[in-house]
């Protein structure tokens, strides 16, 4: 860690990446009924990737290693900010009722579907990181804390995090439109399900639902925001104490079924 801190070049490179990315700013594109939103963090990761020895040769192997050891600590600042988003709304959320709390267990649906599919596609321990949750910031921070972001689990969670950031809003916007056309779920249920711990995904969902059901727009938004804030509140506890242990159990079970032995460490 000391090495990484002393690597002034890495910090300067990051500073430049941050400045360039923030100068470009947030870009929005309308795609069908949804909106594709590109955030500065995406440019930062994209540009950063091309600085390595394979492309622009700005950073060497040691710089890359130093840089990645710093990621999990930098995540903490964001997590502190996350807590301060939830705090002021805490008591409102408590009043929001059992439906909001129970739908949080939908996270288990993620891993029940996601882990087998990930393993079917040939992923190993990456599957646990990738599919234990929807991989928003708190989940990335948690996996980074427990396994390190350099581990297979870390690569899995980062992959889904980045995909979610790129495709999440458009995916949720389209899914909400599509499901409201099918008329299986009530718009309130669809609005509650939107709270996955990402303000942009929730906004996309609530936005397209409001367009479909203008008369219910107020309540749709209230449910969306409450559910999203609740995910921010319990998401990390839910992942740590329920989803992650279950994911590991399911992974081990499927591994034994497929290969007839437990995974050697």
């Amino acid at each position: 860690m000391t090495d990484a801190i002393k690597n002034v070049k890495v910090h300067l490179v990051v500073l430049v990446l941050v400045c360039v990315s923030e100068l470009i700013g947030i870009l929005k594109f309308d795609v069908g009924p949804g909106t594709l939103v590109l955030l500065p963090m995406l440019y930062a990761v994209f540009l950063g990737t091309f600085l390595g020895p394979k492309f622009l040769k700005v950073v060497n192997d040691k710089d890359m290693l130093d840089s990645s050891t710093l990621v999990s600590l930098t995540l903490m600042l964001l997590m502190a900010r996350y807590g301060t988003l939830v705090g002021p709304k805490f008591f409102e959320i408590l009043k929001a009722g059992p439906a909001l709390i129970l739908q949080e267990f939908g996270n288990i649906g993620t891993l029940v579907i996601g882990i087998p599919i990930a393993m079917f596609l040939g992923l190993r321990r990456e599957a646990v990181g990738a599919a234990h949750s929807i991989a928003r910031e708190p989940n990335v921070a948690l996996i980074g804390d427990i396994y390190g972001l350099d581990s297979p689990e870390g690569r899995g969670v980062m992959g889904v995090y980045i995909c979610g950031t790129v495709f999440g809003t458009i995916f949720y916007g389209l899914a909400a439109s599509f499901l409201s056309v099918l008329d299986v779920f009530h718009p309130y249920a669809l609005a509650m399900a939107a709270g996955v711990g990402s303000a942009s995904m929730m906004t996309a969902t609530v936005g397209s639902l409001s367009a479909h059901y203008p008369a219910m727009a107020d309540k749709i938004q209230a449910f969306g925001v409450a559910s999203n804030t609740l995910s921010g509140l319990d998401g990390v506890y839910m992942s740590m104490f329920i989803a992650l242990p279950l994911s590991n159990k399911l992974y081990n079970l499927l591994y034994r079924l497929r290969f007839g032995k437990t995974e050697e460490a």
Binding site: V18, G48, L65, V86, P88, E126, D150, Y237
Partner: protein
């Protein structure tokens, strides 16, 4: 102890980089956002300390919980804390993290190439799974409660 000093140095460094990005991208002055950033760094350090000296729970759990407590209505100074950290844009905090991650990804590119398209496929199922399962549970519960 060394770990705590190192954490403090990194947090302050990233704090400064974030403040600059926060100025460029979201228009909050450096001094204007400084108290909020100081609060965030302090919360993180408390989390690192708690992880080292209280229970060995993940630091994230401590940091989120502390952030929540200091802004909880009724906690002394909570409104002031919330106003200060409000000057640090949430997205401004994500950019430096992904910049460090991006620089680091270079060495994982071969591995990433191997798992890349699979992760994209998995993430689509993950998003669909969360959404459908949550909507299903919400639907049943709301019906049961007589709300719909």
């Amino acid at each position: 102890m060394r770990k705590i000093v190192e954490s403090a140095i990194v947090l302050v460094l990233v704090g400064v980089i974030t403040l600059i990005g926060n100025r460029i991208g979201y228009g909050f002055g450096l001094l204007e956002a400084l108290p909020g950033m100081a609060v965030l760094v302090a919360i993180c350090l408390l989390g690192v300390l708690a992880n080292a000296y209280v229970f060995k729970l993940p630091t994230v759990l401590y940091v989120i919980t502390f952030g929540m407590i200091v802004t909880l209505p009724g906690f002394p100074g909570s409104e002031q804390f919330a106003a200060w950290v409000g000057k640090v844009n949430f997205l401004a905090l994500t950019t430096p993290i992904l910049a460090y991650a991006g620089v680091g990804i270079g060495k994982d590119l071969p591995a990433l190439k191997k798992t890349g398209w699979r992760i994209v496929a998995v993430s689509l199922f993950v998003m669909a799974g969360t959404y459908l399962a949550s909507a299903g549970i919400a639907q049943v519960t709301l019906k049961f409660l007589g709300e719909i």
